[in-house]
Amino acid sequence: MLLGPSLALSAVLFGIGVIGVLVRRNAIVIFMCVELMLNAVNLSFVALSQYHGVGGRVMVFFVMTVAAAEAAVGLAIMIAVFRHLESVDLKNINLLHG
């Protein structure tokens, strides 16, 4: 009976995460927004697993693991970038410019 509201909440949080990614330039804040979006997805998994079986909950574990790994590597990259550029602001990071 909480299925619909949970999915709606998940959608709202995901949307906020997207907006956050788009409006911020601080790479670490962007990471946090990504975490937010991952959590929104987790919520959907959990909500649906009540009816669809245990697979959804197992998946949440995997998502958490990936999030942790991503945070570790991502933050390490940030440290490396910061060492070079003295900043983690995306406007300064444009090595990909063609």
Binding site: A11, I28, F61
Partner: protein
């Protein structure tokens, strides 16, 4: 409206407010703390959704470990919001339009019911959730038989063993990678 629903909405509103604050705060540390509040609220929601173990994990791993890592890095790099990293108004408008569009598209699921899920899975309007969604019932039975942890542990170390192991490998790789990236000299 039952108590459970009221509690759910309280947590939901808290999560949404926390999320909005998270993305609007100028200081990354504040953002991080607001994010912790979102994660806590979500942990509550998980409990309400009968996923107590995941709720606990959420608090321990996410709010506890990952966010601490974030805070640690923010403080290490001394990013305490001296300058604003927010983009200008056009970006905001664009972001709100795009994000809003996504939210609205998905928020249509607010009145989604288990029966609709059953219909989508079976492709038939005749059958209802009780007949189709046997996996969900089995989960309930497993929780009753082995408790919330056991119910997850059994498939995790059984059917999902290999993905689980691969996840472990991923973590190991991430650890090594993080060390390589962050250290000046190895």
């Amino acid at each position: 409206m039952t108590v459970v629903q009221i509690v759910f909405y309280v947590f939901a509103v808290a999560a949404v407010i926390g999320a909005i604050m998270c993305i609007t705060q100028r200081n990354p540390i504040a953002s991080a703390f607001w994010l912790v509040s979102v994660l806590m609220s979500l942990a509550g929601v998980f409990v309400l959704l009968q996923a107590q173990f995941i709720g606990v994990m959420q608090v321990l791993v996410y709010a506890g470990a990952i966010m601490v890592l974030f805070l640690f890095v923010i403080m290490l790099l001394d990013l305490g919001g001296k300058t604003s990293d927010r983009r200008g108004a056009p970006s905001w408008v664009l972001a709100v339009v795009v994000g809003g569009a996504i939210t609205v598209s998905m928020a249509q699921l607010a009145d989604y019911t288990p029966d609709q899920l059953a219909h989508e899975i079976s492709g038939s309007t005749e059958l209802n959730a009780d007949v189709v969604l046997l996996e969900g019932q089995r989960l309930q039975e497993a929780i009753e038989a082995r408790g919330v942890v056991g119910a997850i542990a059994e498939p995790l170390f059984g059917f999902y063993l290999i993905p689980f192991q691969i996840t472990g490998l991923l973590l190991l790789t991430a650890v090594v990678g993080a060390v390589v990236l962050a250290k000046r000299r190895i």
